[in-house]
């Protein structure tokens, strides 16, 4: 529990308030964990990027690209990926527990009917074509991206290892990351440490 709060010396020690709760919040709603920790910029970035990707994917299939189904392992895996975004994908669980012929909310996230000679999934593919596949892809990618955000909320940013920084060419260095030959390895997190001393620094940049 204490490890995520203690990155190696010389790097920014991001204040990770209650990492477990932050990770849970980050899973439930993309970006919420970071906002809880006071990392508002990253929280907003994660929320906008992940939620827009998920909602765009949902829109591409008019709400039918996300559904929970036990029929095949492949479908379970697809929904497992989509469930990475947390609450926004959970209506599918509610729909899965109902009669597929009597879905809620106009059928959004309802599993396709595949019984009695009806193959609604094939019908969806015929109706939407490649858009449906893209919608499934977008929602899956959104869920998987949120897994990265959850880890970030729990353990902070994955700072490149010193060996990796030394191998970098000077032109690859980002602002605040001078060449290794200029001195000891630095990262933007070091710049954040310097920013701490500026009067306009935010709490998230504390070390």
């Amino acid at each position: 529990m204490s490890e995520p709060n203690r990155p190696p010396e010389g790097e920014l020690q991001v204040e990770l308030r209650n990492p477990v709760l932050a990770a849970l919040l980050a899973w439930l709603w993309p970006g919420a964990g970071h906002i809880y920790q006071g990392r508002h910029g990253k929280g907003a970035l994660f929320m906008v990027c992940i939620m827009s990707t998920f909602l765009f994917g949902l829109w591409l299939g008019e709400g039918r690209t996300v559904y929970a189904s036990n029929r095949t392992i492949a479908r379970k895996l697809v929904y497992a990926c989509q469930l990475g975004v947390g609450l926004p994908a959970m209506p599918a669980l509610v729909q899965a527990g109902r009669d597929p012929r009597d879905p809620l909310w106009g059928g959004i996230m309802a599993p396709p009917i595949e019984e009695g000679g009806i193959d609604e999934l094939s019908e969806l593919n015929r109706t939407y074509g490649a858009r449906y596949d893209m919608g499934v892809l977008y929602t899956m990618v959104a869920g998987l991206l949120n897994v990265l955000a959850i880890f970030d909320a729990y353990g902070g940013p994955l700072v490149p290892a010193p060996e990796e920084q030394k191998k970098r060419k000077p032109r690859d260095d980002t602002p605040g990351e001078p060449a290794a030959s200029d001195g000891p390895p630095r990262s933007d997190e070091t710049a954040a440490n310097e920013a701490e001393n500026r009067p306009d620094s935010s709490p998230t940049e504390r070390s």
Binding site: K42, C49, A130, Y138, P157, T174, P175, G176, A195, E205
Partner: protein, 66 residues
Amino acid sequence: MLLASIFDKQIWFLLPLLVTVSLVYGATRHELMQPILHHAYRSGVWMVSFMLTVFLILWALAWLVG
């Protein structure tokens, strides 16, 4: 013909994914916005270059075989 068919359809779905994946990946490596954007830009260029290389190889192979 191949290029026309690709650019006419699914290829445009790539752009939003490229932007979001690059930004989220950059955000998991840095804490401040400027390095995040810089990292995202480099990731985006790298991904496009990689896919373009694979595309050109496949295109060349298709041309040779066809």
